[in-house]
């Protein structure tokens, strides 16, 4: 007999053996990390709970009131400020990307002088030598603080001069209003009462300071306005419009003259000299039924004429005249942009002074004038004794600057700006400047000799000039109403007539170039944000880079097809871009978006597209094939609906009978799935309200930590967007169809998953259990809507610690090999439910809003509880033409659509 204590039972042996094997093989250690609790809890920080602060962003001098969602002191998401007149609670795609640009790892990390580090004090000291001739170049701004500082600099430093510039500053519009009403003004449409809009080369529903307000006012109402577009390049607005004509500068001028001729000729309110002009226009223009019909409609509906920022001043003037003559519901208010319409926007004088070297020190704050290439090139700047640049990135301009200091990001800044209608939006910082950046006001104050005041103090001072309580009000509400001065068009004034008389019809070119702001990158300032680079163009669905967009006729002439590289050559330079053919492109026009070819510190944008600022908008160009072909990073390849319109994206004309609902189907099964949840979540999408602006796509991506995959990923067909906007051409019209997980009650994805990784919740959500997913991808194959997205690689692997800060902590970051898709923002649903449960109440009506619905300016997307008869969603569900996409498959989707209704019925007849 052996020692009893050494006896090991068989069971114990197996247990120990298994445990040892498990220890030796299976257990990988989790990465170490330290979590330290607050010693003293800051009052405003609630761990695990989001807090919202009012702030704003400013582009080209126009502010937009926003809310920033913060988690533990870091902003993670942007929403529109519901109190802001310009945003009304909606937001644009570019606003959504503010967070990503804040945590951009390529932002400039500190000041420098040649090669060495430079403190702000040293940087500023070099700029404040009163004897030197100082030039300051700013981006357009409506900040009263900046305005006061500029005045002070002009007053106290006689050797200093200040200019403003941005490629898309509204110079032409201001010139026209200066002529027409004596001061730079902004047209503010009273959109809710507008019955018709004529947009002339204006992407007014998707771009510009009034896009959100106009989109909501014109579209989000029972009977939306008739929209007519005449445009040189395909825009979301044009694609959405009821009537559209694509035309080059000459074609647009002729059309507008014909329209003006008809309208002014028939109006009694028009002074005689204008009538003479109208007669001349009419005599010069060719008879065009399209123009005649528009003219009739304009008169009958008192339509508003909107001119795009790229149009010449005379077009803006004519638009103002037409609006005045028609008595259209649009008013002109004095522009809040500092120096709008003044000489300081004439950067030719700055260029001349640089050439003459009559400036010793040039300070460029914001913008990227070397990239813009319109004012001066790098060589000219290098000649100046001292060039200083304050910017977000060490970009092309920074490369020629002798000293550099980082600019504070909007989410790091104190400040204020005004929206185009004069409303003041405060800008509050969400976080300390990550890289010690300073705001424009701080730099200007330092130049003026006040190096001690910080941005908060400077902003506070601005509010001291306003009625008591304004500051507190601004902090609490984010926006302060201000009565902007209304201006009237003086139809008799000489300057106006001079402008219109001098306007001749542009010469006919074989091929002209239409340059335009990129809907996602604008002038290129957002080029380093992958979310925006990967945002498909609303019309062409192209991502990552710019393209030469032409109509089929021109491509046939060149015997080129989409993807062939072409060189577009103008007077000043040439760009080599892939050709893209689109049915909506104008004949004889090659359209190119700006924003490509950034080659400075914005490393995400390196090699993406080409800098189109070497061309001039509207100039005649030549195109030739290089013989090379490029792969197009396109998210949608087929725009035809073939014979499927009734199943997928419905469209009818306004005077046609309403589309019948789908016939009831016979089923062998018990028809209604038994869903026992208290709430039943659902969504409706109104195709008649979707402009395809992409705000929902960007909002979803930011809210749900959806990765970007780069141009190669898009080419490979692996874009990750949970919601996408499908563009279809049907009956000579365009339908934009937001497509996301339809949360089918009889979901085809669920029964094919071998591991129960996608299941249905009691409240009607099609849930994706990432932890359980093994990645067979059968669910994606079997999804008729193809909305499921697969993690082909570890997409979050290369994120820097800085980029990780941008993640929404309430949403899992998915690992490689798992499927993902729209969750109906389940985190928002559960948060609201938990809050209600803790407070012992039931969930408030319409308390849950998904990120896409929240961003949508036109309220095309409505989310809510189907079980609540009084909800906004339930009201939408009673729409007579409600239908389910691919209804015949019997998937019983929770997302329903209502058709697009084209108002092409000629209401004026």
């Amino acid at each position: 007999m052996g020692d009893e204590s050494l006896r090991v039972s068989r069971r114990a042996l197996v247990a120990w053996g298994a445990a040892s094997a498990a220890l030796a093989t299976a257990c990988a250690r989790a990465p170490r990390g330290k979590i330290a609790p607050y010693v003293t809890q800051p009052t405003a920080v609630h761990p695990g709970k989001a807090t919202f602060y009012a702030t704003s962003n400013e582009v080209d001098g126009y502010g937009l009131g926003l809310l920033a969602e913060c988690h533990e002191g870091r902003p993670t998401k942007i929403e529109g400020n519901p109190l802001s007149s310009a945003s009304g609670g909606a937001s644009g795609a570019r606003d959504q990307a503010l967070v990503a640009s804040l945590y951009d790892p390529h932002r400039a990390r500190g000041g420098r002088d040649g090669g060495g580090a430079l403190s702000f004090a040293a940087f500023a000291a070099a700029l404040t030598r009163p004897t030197e001739r100082l030039g300051i170049l700013l981006e357009p701004t409506s900040s009263r603080t900046v305005s006061a500082l500029v005045s002070r600099i002009r007053r106290e430093l006689p050797n200093a001069s200040v200019w403003f510039d941005a490629p898309f500053a509204r110079r032409n519009a201001w010139r026209a209003t200066v002529a027409a009403c004596g001061a730079a003004a902004e047209p503010i449409i009273d959109a809710p009462s507008t019955k018709m809009v004529l947009a002339i080369d204006a992407d007014m529903l998707a771009q510009g300071p009034s896009a959100l307000r106009d989109a909501r006012g014109l579209v989000a109402r029972p009977e939306r306005a008739l929209l007519v577009a005449i445009e040189g390049y395909p825009t979301a607005t044009g694609a959405f419009a009821d009537r559209r004509r694509a035309a080059g500068t000459r074609g647009r001028a002729l059309l507008l003259r014909a329209i003006a001729g008809h309208v002014l000729g028939s109006s009694s309110a028009v002074p005689t000299n204008l009538r003479a002009l109208a007669a001349r226009y009419r005599a010069e223009s060719v008879s065009d039924p399209f123009a005649e019909r528009i003219a009739r409609d304009l008169v009958a509906l008192r339509g508003v004429v909107v001119a795009g920022d790229g149009e010449v001043a005379a077009v803006h003037a004519l638009a103002a005249v037409l609006n005045a003559a028609l008595g259209a519901p649009v008013k002109l208010v004095a522009s809040s942009v500092v120096d709008a319409g003044r000489a300081s926007f004439d950067t030719n004088t700055l260029a001349a002074r640089v050439r003459e070297r009559s400036i010793d020190t040039l300070v460029v704050i914001g913008g990227n004038p070397v990239y813009d290439a319109r004012i001066f090139d790098a060589a000219a700047l290098a000649e100046i004794k001292h060039t200083a640049y304050v910017g977000l990135y060490e970009n092309e301009t920074a490369a020629v600057a002798k000293t550099f200091y980082p600019l504070a990001h909007p989410l790091e800044s104190w400040g204020e700006a005004a929206s185009d209608d004069g409303e003041i939006c405060i800008r509050q910082p969400m976080i300390e400047p990550l890289f010690g950046g300073r705001t424009v006001a701080e730099v200007l104050a330092a130049i003026a000799g006040d190096a001690t005041s910080d941005a908060r103090a400077l902003t506070r001072r601005t509010f001291e000039t306003m009625p008591t309580g304004t500051w507190d009000d601004a902090l609490a509400r984010g926006v302060v109403r201000a009565n902007a001065t209304a201006l009237a068009v003086d139809l008799e004034c000489a300057a106006l007539h001079e402008l219109l008389d001098a306007w001749s019809v542009p010469a006919e070119h074989a091929i002209e170039v239409a340059l335009h702001a990129s809907p996602s990158l604008h002038d290129g300032r957002f080029a380093n944000v992958p979310v925006l680079q990967e945002l498909p163009d609303p019309v062409t669905k192209l991502t990552w880079g710019n393209h030469a967009l032409v109509a089929q006729a021109l491509a046939t002439e060149l015997s080129a097809s989409s993807g062939d590289e072409v060189v577009v050559r103008g007077k000043r330079g040439a760009v080599a871009l892939p050709l893209v053919i689109d049915a909506l492109a104008a004949r004889g026009v090659v359209a190119i978006a700006h924003g490509g070819g950034r080659n400075g510190g914005e490393r995400n944008a390196h090699g993406v597209g080409q800098n189109a600022f070497v061309l001039d908008d509207g100039e005649p160009v030549t195109i030739e094939k290089t013989g090379r072909a490029r792969l197009l990073a396109r998210t949608q390849l087929d725009f035809s609906l073939a014979d499927r319109a009734a199943s997928i994206a419905r469209l009818r004309l306004a005077d046609e009978a309403p589309l019948p609902p789908a016939p009831a189907r016979l089923s062998l099964y018990d028809d209604a799935p038994r869903l026992v949840g208290l709430h039943q979540w659902g969504m409706t999408i109104d195709l008649d309200a979707c402009t395809g602006c992409n705000a929902c796509v960007a909002a979803c991506q930011v809210e749900n930590n959806v990765p970007t995959v780069g141009a190669a990923g898009v080419i490979a067909g692996r874009v990750m967007h949970w919601i996408r906007i499908d563009r279809y051409a049907t009956r000579d019209q365009t339908v934009m169809q937001p497509m996301l997980c339809q949360h089918c009650e009889e979901a085809p994805c669920e029964y094919v998953c071998p591991v129960n990784a996608t299941v249905h919740s009691a409240d009607g959500l099609n849930e994706m259990v990432y932890n359980r997913c093994v990645g067979t991808r059968f669910c994606s194959n079997n999804c008729p809507y193809k909305v499921r997205r697969f993690n082909w690689f570890e997409y979050h692997e290369d994120e820097t610690p800085l980029e990780i800060l941008a993640h929404n902590p309430e949403v899992t970051v998915r690992e490689r090999g798992v499927m993902e898709k729209c969750t109906f923002c389940v985190q928002r649903i559960r948060n609201a439910e938990q809050a209600a449960s803790i407070e012992g109440r039931s969930l408030e009506r319409d308390a849950v809003v998904t990120a896409c619905a929240q961003a949508c300016a036109t309220r095309a997307i409505v989310f809510g509880d189907l079980a609540d008869e009084g909800s906004a969603l339930a009201a939408r569900r009673r729409h007579a033409e409600l239908y389910a996409a691919l209804d015949e498959l019997g998937t019983r989707p929770r997302v329903r659509y209502t058709p697009k209704v084209v108002r092409d019925d000629g209401a004026a007849q």
Binding site: R644, Y751, P754, F778, S780, P784, L886
Partner: protein, 434 residues
């Protein structure tokens, strides 16, 4: 010469293939082993980096791996079909080729089994598809045909292996008895399970072999039926079809017989087996090809005809536009040429007995059957319901490497079989001869 002498001579000749390997064996093993290593590298790279290294995308989320899976598993049908069905139907001609075909089946299943695992996003969790009693109480989702697949394929593999091994036991005993070295005697002896060849053992053996055949025969039908349901239970036009199970089984047997011919014809020449594998055998197999080709052709017709008469936009578009005119229309028309037209040559007796012609035809059929699966897998998803997500598919170099790699791996394991196992059923043929 007596019967016994004849028997000894026959056994020696058959066993010499194993005991005195031909000269080409070593280089052939070396080449195929290197290809196997390349396969290992490509698979390793895919698993470590992510399946994104392949050409798969949305909407074509299954592409090469699943095409290869279906193709290989189809090839793996002929072996058991020949052994089990033909045994039950008392087709005598089967005995010369059945072991050969069974080995091919097992090796093909090995290739097939690789794909469902590596095609997963997270292959390290592949065991979640197996119904094991997990502490979390989570079971596989039994409504999914992928779960059925796991059961069907593993069962088929197990029964095929058992059937193959069972048939091998008497010949392993012969090998043991005639092995030139002690080491070989030992190894063959272990695997021969003490077989003495007594009458009682033979009686038992026949009973068990028959029973296994009875078990295996329905499995031949069930496996590919269930594989076909990986597609047929889906809503995708081009997949959602009632005729898939018989269509897939016929296609599987078609390609399986073609593979047997591909392997058998060179082996017959290299090992000089003209008396064992006679032109009668070739003729019979060619007839099987012709028959199954007809079933396949009928299925093609039925699919297209039902699409035409369905009144379903999506189905029609799938068959008449995507497949016949789309970017991979070449594959569709090649499939028709390979699987429907080319086998028609087998009406001629001279074609059915010409080894060279049959060898070439068998390759043509395999290409055709691979393309058929390629079309089913990729064309159907590349253009389904919403035109917005249509996108055609192209494989990546890794895809091609893995497909080529499995061909090498297949040949490597099959050569090992030829090298170490008596690949012609000695005892059974002796029984037939006497």
């Amino acid at each position: 010469m007596t019967d016994a002498d004849d028997r000894v001579a026959f056994e020696k000749r058959m066993l010499d293939h194993v005991f005195v390997p031909p000269k080409w064996m070593k280089p052939a093993l070396a080449v195929t082993f290197v290809i196997t290593l390349v396969l290992g590298a490509a698979v390793g790279y895919s698993v470590l980096t992510g399946v994104g290294v392949w050409g798969n995308q949305i909407p074509v989320a299954w592409a090469f791996p699943i095409t290869n899976f279906v193709w290989w598993i189809g090839i793996g049908h002929a072996g058991t079909f020949i052994s089990a069905f033909l045994l039950l139907l008392e087709q005598k001609w089967r005995s010369s080729i059945n072991r050969f075909a069974e080995a091919m089946t097992l090796v093909a299943l090995l290739q097939a089994g690789l794909f469902p695992i590596i095609h997963m996003g997270r292959p390290w969790f592949a065991y979640w598809l197996v119904p094991y009693p997990s502490t979390m109480g989570v079971w596989p989702q039994f409504r999914s045909s992928l779960t059925w697949d796991v059961v069907a394929v593993t069962t088929y593999f197990a029964i095929s292996l058992l059937f193959f091994y069972m048939g091998l036991v008497p010949d392993l005993a012969v090998a043991r008895d005639r092995a030139p070295t002690r080491q070989r005697r030992l190894v063959y002896g272990v695997f021969a399970l003490g077989w003495r060849g007594s009458v009682r053992a033979w009686t038992r053996y026949r009973a068990v072999y028959g029973m296994l055949a009875g078990l295996a025969a329905p499995l031949v039908v069930s496996v590919h039926s269930i594989v076909s349901m990986d597609f047929a239970i889906g809503v995708v036009p081009g997949w959602h079809s009632m005729i898939f199970p018989p269509f897939f089984v016929a296609g599987a047997i078609f390609s399986g017989f073609a593979m047997v011919l591909t392997l058998l014809i060179p082996a017959r020449r290299l090992y000089r087996l003209y008396d064992v594998v006679t032109s009668h055998h070739l003729d019979m197999m060619a007839r099987m090809l012709l028959i199954t080709s007809f079933i396949v052709a009928y299925s093609y017709f039925a699919e297209i005809y039902s699409a035409a008469r369905s009144g379903d936009t999506f189905e029609r578009h799938q068959y008449f536009v995507t497949r016949m005119q789309g970017p991979i229309a070449w594959a569709f028309w090649t499939t028709i040429g390979c699987n429907v037209l080319a086998p028609q040559t087998l009406w001629a007796r001279s074609a059915r007995t010409s080894p060279l012609f049959l060898f070439v035809l068998s390759l043509v059929i395999q290409v055709g059957m691979w393309l058929e699966r390629f079309i089913i897998v990729t064309a159907s998803t590349s253009a389904d319901f919403l035109p917005s997500s249509w996108r055609s598919y192209a494989p990546s170099p890794i895809d091609l490497t893995i497909l080529g790699g499995t061909l090498g791996f297949f040949m490597f394991v099959f050569l090992l079989f030829l090298r170490y196992v008596p690949f012609i059923p000695i005892r059974e043929l002796e029984g037939e001869r006497s």
